[in-house]
């Protein structure tokens, strides 16, 4: 049984209303069941639609192939990994998997220090503009980044986080205030983003005001 880390509000995009949601840890079978029975049919429908419309593959959502069940199998029992969900309305609204052991910071001022490395972060497809004309909730990605920062602080990593971004998410991580260290030839040429303790504080303060 997963445990509640925190209760947070999600914003209903259509009305601006707030709905109570829970950040939970870890991802468990019920979340993978949601992924298979609620997320995947929408993802597959998106793929079918894009294929029928002749949209080039380069413009498809770049995380279509993500397999949360495989990821969870790979991480099972290892202390180096941690996983989180956002849940409300009896559904998994987003999931995140991080590594707290294997990655070190690259920005010069914190080079070699420990950080929380975000391996996977994904909002449910009904919360995303690349799957739905009218997404349900806003704020899932930001709340998961806030969760990664909170974990980093609780691990004594001072809020430092890092990740490799899919190109379609580059803009989001830039808006989060992370430093873009450029394409990483050692990791599929994806851009590597990193957050310092100061950037983490600034990001959290900005979220409190909004």
């Amino acid at each position: 049984m997963s445990s509640i880390i925190e209760r947070v509000p999600l914003i209903v995009r259509a009305t601006g209303d707030e709905i109570d949601a829970e950040i939970r840890h870890p991802i468990e079978e019920s979340n993978l069941h949601d992924w298979e029975t609620k997320w995947k049919p929408i993802v597959e429908a998106t793929e079918k639609r894009l294929r029928a419309q002749g949209i080039p593959r380069a413009q498809w959502p770049q995380d279509l192939h993500w397999d949360w069940r495989k990821k969870m199998t790979d991480m099972r029992g290892l202390l180096s990994g941690a996983t989180f969900t956002i849940e409300c309305e009896k559904a998994t609204q987003g999931m995140m998997a991080v590594n707290v052991s294997n990655a070190r910071a690259r920005i010069e001022q914190q080079n070699g220090q420990h950080l929380v490395y975000v391996e996977y972060l994904e909002a449910a497809p009904w919360n995303r503009k690349d799957h739905m004309a009218a997404p349900r909730f806003r704020g899932v990605g930001s709340i998961l980044i806030i969760t990664a920062i909170a974990l980093s602080r609780s691990e004594d990593f001072k809020g430092r986080i890092g990740l490799h971004s899919l190109p379609q998410a580059d803009e989001f991580y830039t808006r989060c205030g992370m430093t873009d260290l450029g394409a990483d030839p050692k990791y599929y040429n994806l851009r590597y983003f990193e957050m310092t303790p100061e950037q983490a504080t600034k990001f959290l303060e900005g979220k409190e005001k909004s």
Partner: protein, 70 residues
């Protein structure tokens, strides 16, 4: 964040010195250093059980050296 439990740890002076040095070098509390050590130990054991070997590679020369675990 995630709930934790407390335990008492007995270390020799030499072990405590090493722990304090790592704590200072890595800008971590001593608890955080030990937590990292446990994670790494568990990961290495899991890979060894799968029949894999542990290597260090010099990034400049690409020279590899196996860490012998007997």
């Amino acid at each position: 964040m995630i709930s934790k439990k407390t335990m008492t740890l007995n270390l020799t002076d030499t072990e405590m010195d090493a722990l304090e040095r790592l704590s200072a070098q890595k800008d971590l509390t001593k608890t955080a250093v030990l937590r990292q050590a446990l994670r790494l130990y568990q990961l290495v054991e899991a890979r060894l059980v799968r029949g894999e070997k542990l290597y260090f590679e010099n990034d400049a020369t690409k020279e590899k050296a196996e860490l012998m675990l007997v």
